[in-house]
Structure formats: C-alpha cells, structure tokens
C-alpha cells in the first residue's frame, strides 16, 4: 500500500514551501534594507518565542491567540463549506435557484468584508455566530462554484442511465453527481482553508476582539513587532500545514475510492 507516498508527497511540498518562504522573507528584508526595528527575521522570531528571557510568556500570548484563531477558522470553514455544499445540491435539484442565488454569493465575494462587518455584528453579535457568518461569506463563493462544477462533471452517459431507468433528480444527485464531485469537493476544501483563515482573522479583528486577528492589531498599536511577526509566522505555518493535511486526506480517499485518480 502506498500510504507512505500519500503522506510523503505533501510533506515534501510542505518543506519546499517553507524553504521558499524563509528565503523570500530574508531576501526581502535584505534587498529593501528594512530597519531591524520593523523588519524581524526568522532568527528574531525564534529568539522571541524560545530563547529570550520572557520566551514562555511570549509563547503563552501568541499560542493563546493561535488556538482561538484555529477554533474560529474551524467554525468558519465548517459553516462555509456546509452552506456551499447544501446550496450547490439545491442548485441541482431546483435549477432556477442558481440564477436567483448566484448573484448573492457573488456579492459576498465582491463587497469587502470590512464593509459588511458592522452589519454582520449587528445581526449576529460578537461571538461564534459572527465568526461563522464571516467565515461563510469568505468561503462560500469559491467553494460553491467549485462544487457546482464538480456536480455537473458527472459523465452524461451515467446521467442518462438514471433517466432511462426513471430515476428522479435526487437519485441522480445521490448516485451519480455526488460521487463524481468528490475531486472538486477536495479542491473546494483546499481553497476554503486559506479563505476560512482570513475570515477568522477578520472576524477576530472586527467582531470578537480576540485571537491572532486582534492580537496583530494589538501588537501594532503597542509597537510590539516581534509579537506581530511571530503571530503572522505561526498563522502562515498553520495554513500551510492544514493545506498539506487536506492533501494527505485527499490522496488517501482517492486511493480508497479510485475517484479522481486519473485526473
């Protein structure tokens, strides 16, 4: 069984991404000759988190924020993907819905979340409901488009078989379209993760007032650039890691079901 390869490949990609990021990071600071007061390098961040006198306090602050952000990301991600999946399926069952609802999803994408935030806060308050709403707003459009096209990608011949045997649209959806959309679903999952993270950070900044999203603003206003960089680095690492995890799961599912392997 090629499980080792299924895990190994994303891991290799992850290492490659890390090398690229660190190189660009150092390179930028060097090329633009950024003042060390603002521009912290990887070594400064490692010092800040592990070796300075107050390193344990720094870790408490940054990772305290971080786990809140992870929870918020999970809330937004789940809500967004769930809504996108349900809406995509409804589109297949009631075709006229798509023309009616797609513009709404598009609004989510084209109006900046910052502009919508005050309304979201008034409607959903300042806790997890607002986080879920903002996560959904960020995630829904790309996820929806991807899942819809996945559902449509079912081979016409298979769809015709269902029709010929008198199957309803919901049978068609269940037996043919859903399995066929699996690769697209994973693509949607992958594009949704960075989106959900952005949504969570924005929700924290504009609504809940905790987590990394708020921590970053706090760090800037306190001139705490070490904390700022550390927070950004941790979030970046986390999004890379999550992205890789989806890659692993995707490969394992592909191997198990055989769907999407050819692509």
């Amino acid at each position: 069984m090629n499980i080792a390869k299924a895990i190994g490949q994303p891991l290799l990609n992850l290492l490659l991404s890390l090398t690229v990021i660190v190189t660009i990071w150092w390179g930028m600071l060097w090329v633009f000759d950024v003042s060390p007061i603002i521009g912290k390098g990887p070594d400064d961040i490692i010092d800040y988190l592990f070796f300075t006198e107050d390193a344990d306090k720094h870790r408490d602050v940054v990772f305290g924020d971080f786990w809140i952000t992870m929870a918020d990301t999970f809330i937004g991600f789940t809500a967004g993907l769930l809504v996108a999946s349900i809406v995509a399926m409804l589109f297949q069952l009631f075709t006229s819905l798509e023309a009616a609802l797609m513009p709404v999803a598009m609004i989510c994408r084209s109006v900046p979340l910052v502009a919508m935030a005050p309304i979201v806060v008034l409607m959903f308050g300042r806790d997890w409901a607002a986080v879920a709403a903002m996560g959904t707003i960020v995630v829904i459009f790309p996820a929806l488009v991807t899942i819809v096209s996945g559902l449509r990608s079912a081979p016409a011949t298979m769809q015709e078989v269902i029709h010929v045997y008198g199957g309803s649209r919901s049978t068609l959806l269940r037996k043919v379209m859903l399995p066929a959309s699996l690769p697209s679903f994973f693509t949607a999952t992958r594009v949704s993760i960075p989106g959900a993270l952005t949504g969570a950070l924005l929700a924290e900044w504009l609504a809940t007032g905790d987590g990394i999203g708020y921590g970053i603003v706090q760090a800037v206003s306190r001139t705490d650039y070490d904390r700022l960089w550390a927070s950004v680095v941790i979030v970046t690492l986390a999004s890379l890691l999550l992205y890789s995890c989806v890659g692993v799961v995707e490969r394992l599912v592909q191997r198990r079901t055989g769907i999407g392997l050819a692509a």
Binding site: V34, I37, G209, Y214, V220, T223, Y225, D226
Partner: protein
C-alpha cells in the same frame, strides 16, 4: 558586458517582482541638513493621526512661511492614521527630523525598542490629553464607578489607556464589559455599547453633531493627567541637530499662535487644503479647533509659552505612562530646547 547587463536586469526583475508581490515600499529620508548657516534643508514630520485640525499649528507654520523663515527649504507633514506606521517607529527608522506622538505611544515604542533608539519628548502641544470616556446623556457614566454596569466600546489602540484608567480608579477589569470598537463611536448610537473611550476633540464631536447630548468623563480628571501632542525626536538628533530642532519648535509655536487666534480659519485650511483628501466635515473641525484650544493654551502656557511643560506635568505624564504599563525612563522629557527657544526669542511670549 552582456553578463553585467543580465545580472542587473535580473536583480531589477527580482526587485520588481518583490514590490509587486508584497507592495512594500521602502524609504528612508534624512530630514536634517548639516549646513551651519541656517539652511536646514527639507523638513519632514510624521504626524500621529490623519490631517485633522489637531495639527492646525503645523499647517499655519507651513502656510505662513514660518518653517521657511526658520531655514527649511520645504515642508512635508506626513499623515498618520489608524493603519499608518506609528510616528515613533517612522522617526526611529530614519523618517523625519521630529514627529508628533503622545506619551503612551512613545512609551510603547520605548518598551519594545528603547534599547536601540533613544526617543525624547521635547515639547507638548496639548497641556493635557483630550481622552474622554463619553456616554449618551440619558444613560450617563458620570464617574468611573458607573462603568461597572455598562458596556464600553474600546478600540485596540486605546486598550492600554483604558485599562490604566480602570487601574487608576480601582476598578476591576472583570466588572466592566468591554467590546471591541472601531475608530468611531457609532456603536454608541446603535446601542452596541453604552460608553466609548476616544477623544473629546474628535469622535465625541461626530456623535454630538448627530444630535445626541453626551456626558464626558475626562481621563485627565480621572487619574491619567498626561500631556499629549508630544513632539518627539531622538537623542542622536538632539546632539547633532539641536539648532535645527529649535528652529522647528520656534516656527511651530508661531504657527500655533495663528491657529489659536482663529478657530474658523484653522478648520478651513484643514478641511479645504491640508486634509482635503480626508473628506472632513467643516462643522466638526471648527468644534475640534475650539475645544482643543483650551487644552493647548492654559494658565501655565500664558506664563511660560506654548509647548512648554511644568515639572508637575512631566511627573504626571511619566506616572500615567507607567500606569499604562510602559516603563519609561525618568529623563523621557527634555524641555531644554523649547526653553532656549523662548529665551532667545522673547517676542514669542507675546501672544493672545
């Protein structure tokens, strides 16, 4: 030859890609010149906020040619704001001869980076800060204890000051409900919170002009009497460009004399010229100018001149900043430059 071209080309390309990718701009200009004959070169001053009437004195000093008379060739007041790099950071990274800030922001910089850059406050435009915790008059917070039954909107950058206020008034942070607010007090009107911490000379005015009566609880009367509108610079600049700094202070004082004389004109040049791209409201800026005048000129300045500070004001400011949580040194303030300016220009004292 072709190799050289190639190398330069690829480095340029790398730089261009880098710019496109991160949209970073790097600039570092030294404002000061080393000419000894009164030619101080270009003047750059990072401001602590967007260009509102808060900096009217600087606008007048620019418009009426005081900076030019003092020996500067050109003037560039660099707008700050909620998303701008803090003025103290700009100063420390080489932008500006001096900058406008406040003791709390300056304190936060010193706490974080004070080992590398020695920042000093060489004058205060505001004898006392304009921070207010304000609430609607029909549900007023008249004294600190009232807040225990209220929800308070606090913007991230005011957190430090707010918790120091609670501390100074023996209030337990757990007893006060805090929500994250943005840079304006609109949540007060929508009912999202009952009180907001902001400037009596800024956010409060928007709410009042909207037709709501406000109850103000000024922070300087409630345990945090620090001076604001701090003019900051580095010790290095004080040592190397003392005369340049004094020329800047003198011109700024003259500018403030003009600004205090005519609130309407101060608001007009702010709205129509200096802050034209901010879409500021004329009525609002007139009230700002009127209201800040009494914080800028008081009994002390009538006798000792604008921008100066009493020893008591210095001690109060340092104690307040320490209460906020930043351990600033005892010699944070250096008022000797502005004092020399008044000694050398006795006419500066004759102002309305």
């Amino acid at each position: 030859m072709s190799t050289t071209t190639h190398t330069t080309g690829s480095k340029k390309l790398a730089a261009a890609v880098a710019v496109a990718a991160l949209a970073v701009t790097a600039c570092g200009n030294e404002a000061s010149a080393d000419d000894a004959d009164g030619d101080f070169g270009d003047l750059e001053v990072p401001l602590s906020w967007i260009k509102t009437a808060e900096f009217a004195g600087n606008y007048f000093a620019e418009d009426n040619g005081y900076y030019e008379e003092a020996g500067f060739e050109s003037v560039n007041l660099i707008s700050g704001g909620p998303s701008a790099t803090p003025s103290a950071t700009q100063l420390a990274t080489g932008t500006g001869l001096a900058a406008l800030s406040n003791p709390v922001d300056t304190g936060s910089f010193i706490e974080a980076e004070g080992d590398d850059v020695d920042i000093k406050i060489i004058g205060s435009v505001f004898q006392t800060n304009a921070f207010s915790i304000f609430s609607l008059a029909d549900n007023p917070a008249s004294e600190p204890d009232d807040l225990t039954e209220m929800t308070v909107g606090v913007a991230p950058n005011n957190e430090g000051v707010f918790y120091a206020f609670l501390d100074a008034n023996d209030l337990d942070p757990d007893d006060v409900e805090v929500v994250t607010a943005g840079g304006d007090a609109s949540g007060l009107i929508t009912g999202e919170y009952d009180a907001y911490i902001g400037y009596a000379t800024n956010q409060a005015i928007s709410v009042e002009l909207d037709g709501h009566d406000l109850e103000h609880m000024m922070l300087h009367e409630n345990g945090l009497p620090f001076a604001a509108g701090s003019i900051i610079t580095t010790q290095e600049t004080i040592d190397s460009d003392r005369e340049t700094l004094k020329a800047f202070l003198e011109a700024t004082i003259r500018g403030w004399h003009d600004a205090l004389e005519d609130d309407d004109e101060a608001a007009r040049i702010t709205v129509e010229d200096h802050g034209a791209d901010q879409g500021l409201d004329m009525e609002h800026q007139v009230v700002t100018a009127e209201r800040q005048a009494e914080l800028i000129a008081d009994e002390w300045t009538a006798e000792h001149g604008l921008l100066t500070m009493s020893d008591e004001a210095i001690t109060d400011s340092i104690e307040s900043v320490r209460l906020v949580g930043y351990d600033v040194p005892d010699d944070l303030f250096d008022l000797s430059l502005v004092e020399e300016v008044y000694e050398e220009n006795p006419d500066l004292m004759e102002h309305p």
